[in-house]
């Protein structure tokens, strides 16, 4: 049987994937695609501007098609179909017969008929090629506008921001943004948020003319106003690509969509249409989940025809259009009927204009069922609301609780999972229901998210359902009596804290000893760095001795961070950010000599990038000779203690913050912990050193210091908590000693202090009791242990360059130590260099 697919987009690809999984004998599968790339992830197209390349977006490489016996013809659009004789012809001249034809031609951007639309500087937003064009044009211009304030338009506007266009204009014809998904209040809140981050929103605007000679210079609107701009991206909706169908006489709708029945058959029973080109029940589905469902139905049809059967097992019956998306700077979701109102409906609304939060749920008048709603600014409850709505679950007595801030409905959420029926769709991209996930845990023994992904494909599309998948997995494991134990990995049946105590108790000194005594098997990339960190925290021995070198994380093994292309970065310690002119000169000279890119880091020191592994020892020899030492930028260890200039110069300074920062940095340098940790000292409450965002931060007062702990920058920033006030320097150090030892002993691997505190029962009050009031009676021991670690400090790089066996490990080729890796490539950038892009 010969199946030909027209279109190699997301749905066309999914169709192939699902069809070959059926392993039908004598199946010949041929795909014609118009674009030059094999199908890629259009949903995440905008990631292209965040550094993702074509490879990252590709759904499967060309080799995948070959391996699965699929003949893929790219750059070869189909031109005609002669359905009466089941033939088609392509641009490159193939004339081909088919038994079944599947049209997955998607849609094109809808281009409004505006005077001047063909000028240079007008772009669409649909394909990788569009993005290439936008990217190169945006480099040359300053201003940009987007026509269309819907889902795609806002995404395009964000892309313009990312490309460095300041304050792009968004032109919407309707009176509000995202008119199809949001109600008026919701749109207003969204407009505010978007305005704050730099978009110019214009609603109620109808473009009359695009002005400019050859290149766009502006736009004029029907209300007589105008706007100047250098480029325009059109995102005013989609138009299904039914032109082939029209030409060969298949039934199509007014928008060009190809009319299909419940089995995705067009008016010719041998031709199917799926994805955005299909028109089902007068509706075009512009989302990926319904497209995948259509692919599934068609695969079932082909199996049926292959088996010469009349029994149909699957049909398409329409699809929920609920969506959740991450817009520029905020989250937006709409589900069920977002606009429901009237006598039979109760609308519950929560609105916080200053935080940009708007939530509306529409409930039946009797308060029993959820009809739909809108969420803006906080969409954490989306999954559970969607499920409640779709499965017509009975609402709790106070439905308003459903949209109160997440922490108050924690219990409800757990209960929500339990109440879901087995066929509740959890992952709509891959249509995986609750039963499938539970069964993966119960019958296939999945115990990690990765297992579940492999087994069921849930969470491999947009990823939005992952939190719920995880909750379901943990819940099911608990139901199964599986104690969800926090163990390190398959080689150790202990948590990090248990291992820490055991290693200390048994006085173990190497990774192999620990594995032999406490673990099983031969280790892996999870337990090796975790144990190495414990050993370092306990004994503070040079990490590359005693055969511990290969159990270090790769960065620790080479005492430098590996970077794109395989070169390393060099970060000498610059305590408190203070440096002499002489030392600055040395850094400059070293960078010049070894051709390194130099940059001032966010941690008040200098990073030198682009060092070949074999140059590292010589670079460090020169730095050490000039009085530098390792900055441990590669280790889970103390990074920097930032300082502000403080009382030595600053007119507001209350204490000498620089001297104290240096003292602190030199005390804890090289100390390894479950994760990296950072500190800062500010000379007064103006807080120029940002101490309250650090793992421990110190702010000068009239009388001494205030000590803050457990702050974090990173992806989930968190302010530090005040631990003690007006303490003197010695007390401050004593408290930090205790705090750090407590953290090192009890935190999980790769847990920063903020997360550690978040999980601690009793929170900051408990921590204060332990550290300040010594409620565990450990204070003295911890202070002694810390002193021992401080005394054992050595500069790792000094040891490394002075020990020949260690030094000889720093080469690329074991059999040609003097040669550098010839594949390392750099590009020029602003008088320096940068790593060449990923290939």
């Amino acid at each position: 049987m010969k199946v030909v697919v027209i279109g190699n987009g997301m749905v066309g690809y999914k169709f192939c994937e699902k069809l070959i999984a059926k392993k039908l004998p004598d199946l010949e599968l041929i795909v014609f695609g118009e674009e030059q790339y094999p199908a890629y992830d259009r949903v995440h197209l905008s990631d292209f501007f965040n550094g993702k390349g074509v490879d990252d977006l590709t759904l499967a490489p060309a080799s995948w098609y070959a391996e699965n016996n699929i003949k893929l013809h790219l750059c070869d659009p189909v031109l005609y179909i002669r359905n009466s004789i089941k033939l088609l012809q392509t641009y490159k001249g193939y004339v081909m017969h088919y038994d079944i034809l599947v049209m997955a031609t998607g849609s094109a951007a809808f281009v409004p008929n505006i005077d001047g639309i063909d000028k240079r500087g007008v772009f669409l937003y649909r394909t990788i090629e569009d993005l290439h064009l936008i990217q190169s044009y945006a480099k040359k211009v300053k201003r940009g506008a987007v026509i269309g304030g819907g889902l795609l338009g806002l995404e395009a506007a964000k892309a313009l921001l990312d490309l460095g266009i300041k304050n792009p204009d968004v032109i919407e014809f309707a009176p509000r943004l995202m008119p199809r998904q949001l109600d008026e209040s919701g749109s207003k809140i969204l407009s505010n948020t978007l305005t704050n981050i730099g978009l110019n929103i214009h609603t109620n605007k109808n473009t009359a003319k695009i002005s400019g000679k050859e290149n766009v210079t502006g736009m004029q609107f029907t209300d007589g106003t105008s706007l100047s701009t250098d480029m325009i991206v059109i995102s005013a909706g989609i138009k299904p690509r039914g032109e082939l169908a029209v030409e060969c006489g298949l039934e199509t709708g007014i928008n060009g969509g190809i009319v299909v029945n419940n089995f995705m058959q067009t008016s010719d029973e041998n031709i199917y249409a799926i994805g955005e080109c299909a028109l089902y029940n007068e509706m075009t589905y512009g989302l990926i989940a319904p497209g995948y469902e259509m692919a599934d139905v068609t695969v079932n049809e082909i199996c049926r025809i292959h088996a010469k059967s009349n029994i149909r097992t699957k049909e398409f019956t329409g699809f929920d259009m609920s969506t959740k998306l991450k817009l520029v700077g905020t989250d937006v979701a709409s589900f069920g009927d977002p606009f429901a109102q009237g006598d039979t409906v109760r609308n519950i609304v929560l609105k916080d204009t200053s935080k940009g939060i708007y939530k509306r749920i529409n409930v039946t008048a009797d308060g029993k069922h959820l009809l739909g709603g809108v969420l803006i600014g906080d969409t954490t409850q989306y999954n559970i609301l969607l499920q409640t709505c779709k499965n017509k679950l009975i609402l709790p007595p106070h439905p308003e609780d459903l949209i109160l801030p997440a922490r108050d409905v924690k219990k409800e959420e757990g209960a929500g999972i339990v109440a879901l029926p087995d066929d509740a769709l959890i992952c709509s991209c891959e249509s995986v229901d609750k039963a499938a996930i539970c069964s993966a845990v119960i019958n296939q023994g999945c115990e990690t998210i990765d297992d579940i992904k492999k087994c069921t494909k849930a969470g491999t599309g947009c990823g939005g359902c992952l939190p719920m998948v995880k909750d379901l997995m943990v819940y099911t494991m608990k139901q199964q009596g599986k104690y969800v134990r926090n163990v390190l990995c398959e080689h150790f049946n202990y948590s990090r804290q248990e291992l820490f105590d055991l290693v200390k108790l048994h006085d173990l000194r190497t990774y192999n000893q620990v594995l032999d005594n406490l673990g099983k098997g031969d280790g892996c990339e999870i337990c090796k760095p975790a144990i190495s960190s414990i050993l370092a925290s306990l004994w503070n021995e040079m990490v590359l001795v005693k055969g511990n070198d290969t159990s270090q994380d790769s960065n620790d093994r080479f005492l430098a961070n590996i970077q794109k292309g395989g070169t390393y970065s060099v970060v000498p310690r610059i305590p408190g950010g203070e440096i002499t002119p002489e030392k600055l000169i040395v850094i400059g000279q070293v960078a010049q000599k070894y051709g390194l890119y130099t940059k001032i880091t966010g941690g008040q020191r200098i990073d030198l990038f682009g060092a070949h592994v074999s140059d590292l020892p010589s670079i460090w020899s020169e730095l050490i000779a000039a009085g530098f030492e390792s900055g441990h930028a590669y280790g889970k260890a103390l990074r920097t203690v930032k300082s502000c200039v403080g009382s030595t110069w600053c007119r507001f300074g209350l204490q000498d913050s620089v001297s104290f920062a240096i003292q602190i940095e030199e005390r804890y340098r090289g100390l390894r912990a479950p994760h990296k940790f950072k500190s800062a000292v500010s000379g007064c409450i103006r807080e120029c050193a940002e101490a309250q965002s650090k793992d421990f931060g110190i702010i000068a007062t009239e009388k001494g210091w205030n000590l803050y702990v457990c702050g974090n920058g990173g992806s989930k920033p968190q302010h530090a908590h005040l631990l003690a006030t007006d303490i003197d320097s010695d007390t401050c150090i004593k408290y930090i000693d205790r705090f750090l030892m407590f953290y090192i002993r009890t935190a999980d691997t790769l847990t920063r202090t903020a997360t550690w505190l978040n999980k601690m029962e009793g929170g900051i009050n408990y921590l204060r009791n332990v550290v300040v009031n010594d409620s565990l009676g450990m204070a003295e021991q911890w202070e002694q242990e810390m002193q021992a670690l401080v005394n054992a400090y050595q500069c790792e790089w000094k040891v490394a360059i002075e020990t020949p066996e260690i030094r000889k490990r720093f080469n690329h080729f074991i059999n040609a130590p003097e040669e550098k890796d010839p594949t390392v490539k750099f590009d020029a950038l602003r008088e320096q260099k940068k790593a060449a892009n990923w290939k």
């Binding site: 398959e490 192999n512 070198d549 040609a816 990923w838």
Partner: protein, 124 residues
């Protein structure tokens, strides 16, 4: 066909890659063979030798020899230092669920010398 002079001493199909003592215990090193880069691992705990391509197929980085080795359900593997994708040292299959794999080569250790069989790699 004319080939470049070998940088290795040739012994039938096996070439001498390096001395066993040069290879780090429970870890890897990289061997240059003409234009090719081959990662050699000495899994000391299991007394096993492995040879694979040095390039990680994920982002085409010459890095596998610097990766951490270990096991998954007793299958020996290496984790790329860049994004921790893992590959079976025995079969070259990607173990972290991606559609890519690496080449592996026969390897043996005799009298303190390590030999690899690189018949599949033409010297250009």
């Amino acid at each position: 066909m004319l080939k470049e002079p070998k940088i290795f001493e040739q012994n039938a199909h096996w070439i001498l890659a390096c001395k066993a003592e040069d290879v780090v215990e429970n870890g890897g090193v990289c061997v240059k063979y003409g234009e090719h880069q081959i990662a050699i691992f000495y899994f000391t705990r299991r007394n096993e030798w492995y040879a694979t391509q040095n390039e990680c197929p994920h982002k085409k980085q010459m890095a596998l020899s610097r990766g951490m080795i270990g096991t998954k359900n007793d299958e020996p593997k290496v984790a790329c230092p860049f994004h921790k994708k893992t590959f079976s040292l025995a079969t070259g299959k990607c173990l972290s669920g991606d559609e890519c794999s690496i080449n592996t080569y026969p390897i043996k250790e005799e009298n303190g010398n390590v030999y690899i069989c690189v018949d599949s790699l033409p010297l250009t």
